[in-house]
C-alpha cells in the first residue's frame, strides 16, 4: 500500500498511519518482530507441577508451554510433525505427553516423538528427526519468554533496565509469590500497536476513564489524580519503558509504617486474626498493586495490578488478555479484594476496558481518513532523564517502542 520504507515510516516525533492499516507491514511485523524477538508466553505460577501445560501463541503460531518431569519449562509448536494438526486444544491441563488425535503420533513432555502406529510404512525413518519443534525459552522473575531466534541476545540482556522494575512489580505479592488468578480476554477491531501505545498513555486516563474515576471513593480517586503528582515516563531501552503514575506506590515494601487507609480498615482487621501487624501492613499496601506500568516490547505490560498481554490477529484485529494476579498462599480476603478490583476496571464489562476498546477502535476507524498524508503524533512531553524530572503524560514510551519497531523492521 504505502511506498515508504519501514525506516521512513517512523520519525522521532510521529509515525505514519500506514503502521495501523497496511497488511503488508503487518506481515513483516510478524516475521521481523514476533518471530524474531522474545515474546512473553506464561507466568511460572501457571505451571506449578511437572506435566502442567498451557496453550498460547507466539505471534500467530500456536504453542504449548509445559513443565517436564525434571521441572524444565519448554515451549513447543502446537503442530504434529506428520500432517500439521494441533496436538492439544485445551487451554491448560496436566499431561504426561501429547498424542495427535489424527494418526496417534505420540510425543513426550520434552517434545520427542515417542511412537507412531505402523512405523514400518516409512523408509529410513528416524524418530529423533521428528520431535515437536521447540523454541528457545528463558525466564526472569517468574516471567517466561520464548523466541524462534537462536541468535537473539539473552533474555537478561534484552530486558536490561526493565529488570529492576519487574522486581518492584512482583512485590505486590505482599510477602507471597505472585500467582495468576484468571483472565479477561477480549478483542478489538484495531491494530496491535494502538494497544501497545495505550499502556504508556497517561494522557487519556482522566478523559477516557472519567466514569471509572467518578465511581471511586474519595481516597482512591485522589490516588488516580496523578496528572500533577510527580509521575514520569522513562525509556528503558529495547522498546521497553516505564510509566510511573503514582510515585508513592513504586516500592510496596517502603512506607509500611504509614496509617492504613480507611477503605482497607475492614480488610486489615480481618487479616489481623491470622497475621502480625507487619504482615498486615505489607499485604494491605500490596493489595491494590503498584503505581506504575512496565511495558515490555512487544507483547507484555506489567500494568499496576495485572499482566496485559497482546496478540496480533490481523492488521486490524488484536486480542488482549488482562491476567489477574494475586498472592500465592496469601490470605483469601486479600485475594478476593484483588479479584474485585480487577473486575471493577478490567474486562469486557469493566468500568475501564470498554471505554479503552472504544477509543482504540475509533483510532482504527479514523485512520482510514487522510490517505498517505497523515501522521500519528508522538511528540508530547519531555522524557525522564538524569537531568529532567519528565512528565507522566509524555509519549516517551511510545517513542521508545516505535524506535525499537524501526530497528527490528529495518534489519
Amino acid at each position: 500500500m504505502t511506498e515508504l520504507l519501514p525506516s521512513e515510516l517512523v520519525r522521532d516525533d510521529c509515525v505514519h498511519t500506514a503502521l495501523y492499516k497496511d497488511p503488508e507491514i503487518f506481515e513483516q511485523e510478524i516475521d521481523r518482530i514476533f518471530n524474531r524477538t522474545w515474546v512473553w508466553v506464561a507466568h511460572d505460577s501457571e505451571l506449578p507441577n511437572p506435566g502442567d501445560y498451557v496453550t498460547t501463541h507466539v505471534g500467530r503460531q500456536p504453542v504449548i508451554v509445559n513443565r517436564d518431569k525434571q521441572g524444565e519449562v519448554r515451549v513447543m509448536l502446537n503442530r504434529c510433525r506428520h500432517r500439521g494438526a494441533t496436538i492439544c486444544e485445551k487451554r491448560k491441563g496436566n499431561a504426561p505427553g501429547f498424542v495427535c488425535p489424527y494418526h496417534a503420533w505420540t510425543y513426550g513432555q520434552d517434545g520427542a516423538l515417542k511412537g507412531l502406529p505402523l512405523p514400518k510404512g516409512y523408509k529410513d525413518f528416524d524418530k529423533a528427526d521428528y520431535g515437536l519443534v521447540t523454541l528457545r525459552v528463558e525466564s526472569y522473575n517468574g516471567l517466561i519468554f520464548a523466541t524462534f531466534n537462536e541468535d537473539a541476545a539473552p533474555l537478561d540482556e534484552f530486558l536490561g533496565r526493565a529488570k529492576p522494575w519487574i522486581d518492584l512489580f512482583m512485590k505486590q505479592g505482599g510477602g507471597y509469590p505472585i500467582k495468576t488468578m484468571g483472565e479477561h480476554k477480549f478483542t478489538f477491531p484495531g491494530n496491535w500497536k494502538i494497544q501497545l501505545e495505550n499502556t504508556t498513555d497517561a494522557y487519556h486516563f482522566p478523559v477516557v476513564h472519567k466514569s471509572f474515576l467518578t465511581s471511586l471513593d474519595g481516597d482512591t480517586s485522589e490516588l488516580f489524580s496523578f496528572m500533577k503528582a510527580g509521575g514520569y515516563v522513562e525509556d528503558l531501552d529495547n522498546g521497553h519503558s516505564v510509566m510511573v503514575m503514582i510515585p508513592e506506590l513504586v516500592d510496596l515494601e517502603e512506607n509500611l509504617d504509614e496509617p492504613i487507609p480507611d477503605r482497607f480498615a475492614e480488610l486489615a482487621e480481618d487479616l489481623r486474626q491470622d497475621h502480625s501487624e507487619d504482615e498486615v501492613r505489607k499485604i494491605v499496601r500490596a493489595v491494590t498493586g503498584t503505581g506504575f506500568n512496565v511495558n515490555l516490547f512487544p507483547n507484555l505490560a506489567c500494568s499496576m495490578a495485572f499482566f496485559r498481554v497482546l496478540r496480533p490477529l490481523a492488521v486490524d484485529e488484536t486480542e488482549i488478555r488482562h491476567i489477574a494476579i494475586g498472592m500465592d498462599g496469601g490470605p483469601d480476603a486479600a485475594n478476593r479484594a484483588r479479584l474485585r478490583l480487577h473486575e471493577h476496571f478490567q474486562g469486557p464489562m469493566g468500568f475501564g476496558t470498554p471505554d479503552d476498546a472504544e477509543a482504540w477502535e475509533r483510532v482504527q476507524r479514523g485512520s482510514e481518513a487522510g490517505e498517505d498524508q497523515m501522521w500519528i503524533m508522538l511528540n508530547r512531553g519531555e522524557d525522564k532523564t538524569e537531568s529532567n524530572a519528565g512528565d507522566v503524560t509524555a509519549e516517551t514510551g511510545m517513542r521508545a517502542a516505535y524506535q525499537m519497531w524501526k530497528r527490528m523492521m529495518t534489519v
Partner: protein, 162 residues
C-alpha cells in the same frame, strides 16, 4: 400454605421477560428496583464454577456495585456507553430448578442477545440461572447468573447489561 407465585412457572417467565425488556430499553433505574437488597448479579468466566467470590468474573455485583454500574452507563461520562450498542434479547427454554434452601424459586433459561453498533452485529448466547423471591405480590431477584457459552474465549467491550 403454598404460595402460588412459588409454584407456577408462568408468572416467573413473565417477570424474566419484563426484566429483559427493561435491559434492552436501558431503563436501568427500574431494573435496579427489581433486586433484593442482598441480590447478586454474576457473569462468571469459569464455565463450571459455583464459587464466584473466589473466582475472576466479568461481573460480581452486590447492590453497591450494581448502583455504580448503572451510574456509569447512564452518566454520559463513558464514551462507550454514551452511544452504547442497541440490544435485542430473546429469552426462552425456561426450566424450573429445585427451590433454594430459603424457599426461593429457581429457574434456568436460554438467552440469545444480539447487539448492533458500528454497522456490526455481535451475538452473545448464555444459559441464565435465576433465584427469585416472592415478596407479597411482587418478585425480587436474589441471584442472576449469566453463563455465556463463550465466557472463556475472547469477548468484546460491552457497555450494556446481559
Amino acid at each position: 400454605m403454598t404460595n402460588i407465585l412459588q409454584t407456577a412457572l408462568g408468572p416467573l417467565v413473565e417477570f424474566v421477560w419484563m426484566e429483559a425488556d427493561l435491559l434492552d430499553a436501558k431503563r436501568y433505574a427500574e431494573w435496579l428496583a427489581l433486586w433484593a437488597d442482598d441480590g447478586k448479579y454474576v457473569i462468571p468466566i469459569d464455565q463450571d464454577t459455583e464459587s464466584f467470590e473466589d473466582s475472576l468474573n466479568f461481573a460480581y455485583d452486590d447492590a453497591t456495585m450494581r448502583d455504580m454500574r448503572v451510574r456509569r452507563l447512564s452518566s454520559g461520562q463513558s464514551m462507550s456507553a454514551s452511544h452504547a450498542a442497541q440490544t435485542v434479547r430473546t429469552v426462552s427454554r425456561f426450566v424450573r430448578l429445585p427451590d433454594s434452601a430459603r424457599g426461593d424459586a429457581r429457574l434456568r433459561c436460554a438467552q440469545h442477545l444480539v447487539e448492533y453498533k458500528f454497522d456490526r452485529h455481535r451475538h452473545y448466547v448464555a444459559n441464565v440461572e435465576w433465584t427469585i423471591r416472592s415478596d407479597g405480590d411482587k418478585f425480587e431477584i436474589v441471584e442472576k447468573v449469566v453463563r455465556l457459552v463463550n465466557s472463556e474465549d475472547a469477548l468484546a467491550g460491552m457497555s450494556y447489561l446481559l
